[in-house]
């Protein structure tokens, strides 16, 4: 899979990220590092503890990383989740969280595919 194919698969913005980060090599390096990202695990953990402030921060981090790497689909869902958590209260339902989880996991899967 090429990097372009990877971005198409996860609903990302290949042209955007290439124009910002300039080098495909740099993009690949940081896309790979997304595998080490712990934000989703932190998000789950903090939600389970009822620590919504920290949960907001974790969602915010996912949003920031997704934005920088041009993962547009994940950016949209994490943005909605971030705004929902901004008030510091429990989630009304898990719709946004579920979307973030789905987009996040799809992205991880695609990175593994890119590596092979």
């Amino acid at each position: 899979m090429t990097l372009k194919e990877f971005y198409d698969k996860i609903g990302g913005d290949y042209n955007g990220v290439m124009s910002r980060l300039m080098k495909e090599e740099r993009v690949v390096k940081f896309v790979r590092r997304f595998l080490d990202d712990k934000s989703l695990a932190t998000l789950d953990e903090k939600l389970a503890e009822g620590n919504y402030e920290e949960a907001f921060r974790a969602a915010h981090t996912i949003k920031g990383v997704a934005s920088n790497l041009g993962f547009s689909r994940l950016l949209d869902s994490s943005n909605e989740l971030t705004e929902e958590l901004r008030g510091g209260t429990a989630l009304a339902n898990t719709d946004h969280l579920d979307r973030v989880r789905a987009d996040y996991e799809q992205t991880i899967e695609a990175i593994h595919a890119l590596e092979n």
Binding site: F30, R33, F34, R57, S67, N68, L69, G70
Partner: protein
């Protein structure tokens, strides 16, 4: 300069990915340091903030967020020397306003764009670099300027002393009192719109108030008894003679300093009720510069010894002036004199105040320019040094000294130094006849002996001894701290301390 002088950037973001991304973009040109939360950032800044050239700061972080970091940086005035660029994905106007309000310089929105990150970083560093250089340059120039004019005042005062047989401090005291009264005056009323530099100009120009005395015959000038009417008339011409001399300085006659000096020389013996000389001007017809110097002149003349009288105390002088025994003055200036009385007494008691005057003017002058605010920390340091210097000078009635091996010299300080007319700098003190004269042969030998008993572990030495001097035996105490180099074995590089007369 380590690392070939590469500028240092501190990246503060809780996301490892974001830090790496920025680091990747910048590490070719800059030295990168990272902090993963606000607390860590403050710890790093606290340790080496002067070393860091730029901070890239995220907003939403654990432990301490970006606003809290900015608040600390503002409180401790680090923000004035270390620019901050915000890098949060929070980009609402409210967030940006708050960040700018706390002193952030710029903002890089996400997603990061290599070209944008580079441009913002380069621009900010350039701007701050230029500003730092400018502030240094201006500070240096003002200092040089101040040093020169203060030096001229000192020289003039000694020339006057030489001829007048007056106390050598007269010109210096007039300078201090004039400055003090004018500062007070602009505080209590709006009638005289004098800026800090106007006040400084008048105080400097006051040095020439008695320049005309050069034209007065020596015998009259230094007559110990009462003047005859004729002599008094001749004596009175000094104000007009001084003004004429200044008028003939054609090259600089339009300079504010010369114009002000002219006013002061000509009219510093005028009185508020019109009964002064030479022109009999009344009230506000007399320029404020001359009004103030007239009052300063009277106060200092009263509190100083003269060939024909002894010195009055500060309290006596104040009473005499306020009772109108020395002629009438602007009521506002009398108020200033009353309000400034405690400061006045303190100032005149510690003559070494003069030396810190340069610092004071730098602080004031830079304070007037908002564009120089980046030097806030430097100013604070100067201000602190000044306060410290004045405090030590004021409380000590002793000789303080600072000795350095290279250059081989000793610097003398303290009110005793000026009082006894001792030189400030003495080269090669161990073989100096001047030092021998000041301390006496025995004291010198004792000092040398004491120096040799100090060790790096016990650098502070204290010894009491008796020495011959001034027609009797004087008990003296010397305390000093010897400074050692970091070499192995350590070498003596100098010492500082004081000699106290017991």
């Amino acid at each position: 300069m380590d690392n070939m002088g590469r500028q240092k950037i501190l990246i503060v973001d809780d996301s490892d990915m974001n830090r790496s991304l920025l680091s990747d973009m910048l590490e070719d040109e800059y030295e990168i340091m990272e902090a993963s939360d606000g607390e860590e950032a403050v710890a790093i800044l606290n340790l080496r903030n002067t070393d860091i050239d730029l901070v890239l700061l995220d907003l939403v972080m654990p432990k301490m967020n970006g606003f809290q970091v900015l608040t600390v940086m503002k409180e401790r005035q680090w923000i004035e020397d270390v620019p901050v660029i915000m890098i949060s994905s929070e980009s609402s106007p409210a967030f940006l306003d708050k960040a700018y309000g706390l002193g952030a310089t710029d903002y890089i929105s996400r997603p990061f764009d290599v070209a944008v990150v580079h441009r913002r970083v380069v621009n900010t560093l350039l701007l701050y670099g230029k500003q730092k250089k400018l502030v240094d340059l201006v500070t240096e120039q003002i200092y040089e300027k101040e040093k020169t004019s203060s030096m001229m005042v000192h020289i003039l005062s000694h020339i006057m002393e030489f001829r007048n047989g007056e106390s050598g401090e007269h010109v210096l005291n007039i300078n201090i009192i004039t400055d003090l009264l004018l500062r007070q005056l602009v505080q209590i009323c709006d009638q005289y719109p004098l800026s800090v530099s106007d006040i400084h100009l008048i105080a400097t120009a006051s040095a020439l108030h008695d320049a005309g005395k050069i034209a007065i015959p020596y015998k009259i000038l230094n007559k110990p008894g009462r003047f005859t009417d004729e002599e008094y008339e001749i004596m009175k011409t000094h104000s007009m003679q001084g003004a004429m001399m200044l008028e003939k300085v054609t090259k600089y006659k339009d300079e504010p300093l010369v114009k002000t000096a002219y006013e002061i020389a000509r009219w510093h013996h005028e009185r508020w009720d019109g009964r002064g000389y030479p022109d009999g001007l009344k009230g506000e017809e007399i320029p404020i510069s001359a009004q103030v110097v007239a009052l300063a002149d009277v106060y200092d003349a009263l509190t100083s010894p003269r060939v024909y009288k002894k010195a009055f105390t500060h309290e006596q002088a104040l009473d005499m002036i306020l009772n109108g025994e020395c002629g009438s003055f602007n009521p506002l200036l009398m108020d200033c004199l009353k309000v400034s009385a405690p400061q006045l007494r303190e100032l005149l008691n510690s003559e070494s105040t003069q030396d810190s005057g340069e610092l004071e003017v730098i602080v004031d002058e830079i304070g007037m320019h908002e564009e120089l605010s980046a030097s806030g920390r430097t100013l604070q340091l100067l201000e602190r040094e000044r306060a410290k210097y004045q405090f030590f000078a004021a409380i000590s009635r002793e000789i303080q000294f600072e000795y350095t091996v290279s250059p081989n010299m000793v610097r003398l300080m303290g009110s005793e130094v000026a009082e006894r007319g001792l030189p400030e700098l003495i080269m090669d003190p161990a073989n100096s006849d001047q030092i021998r004269e000041i301390l006496g042969e025995e004291t010198m030998q004792i000092m040398n002996g004491v120096l040799n008993t100090a060790t790096p572990d016990q650098p502070i030495v204290e010894r009491e001894f008796e020495a011959l001097g001034h027609g009797g035996t004087i008990r003296k105490k010397v305390i000093y701290r010897v400074e050692w180099s970091a070499d192995e074995p350590p070498q003596i590089i100098g010492a500082y301390g004081k000699i106290i007369l017991l």
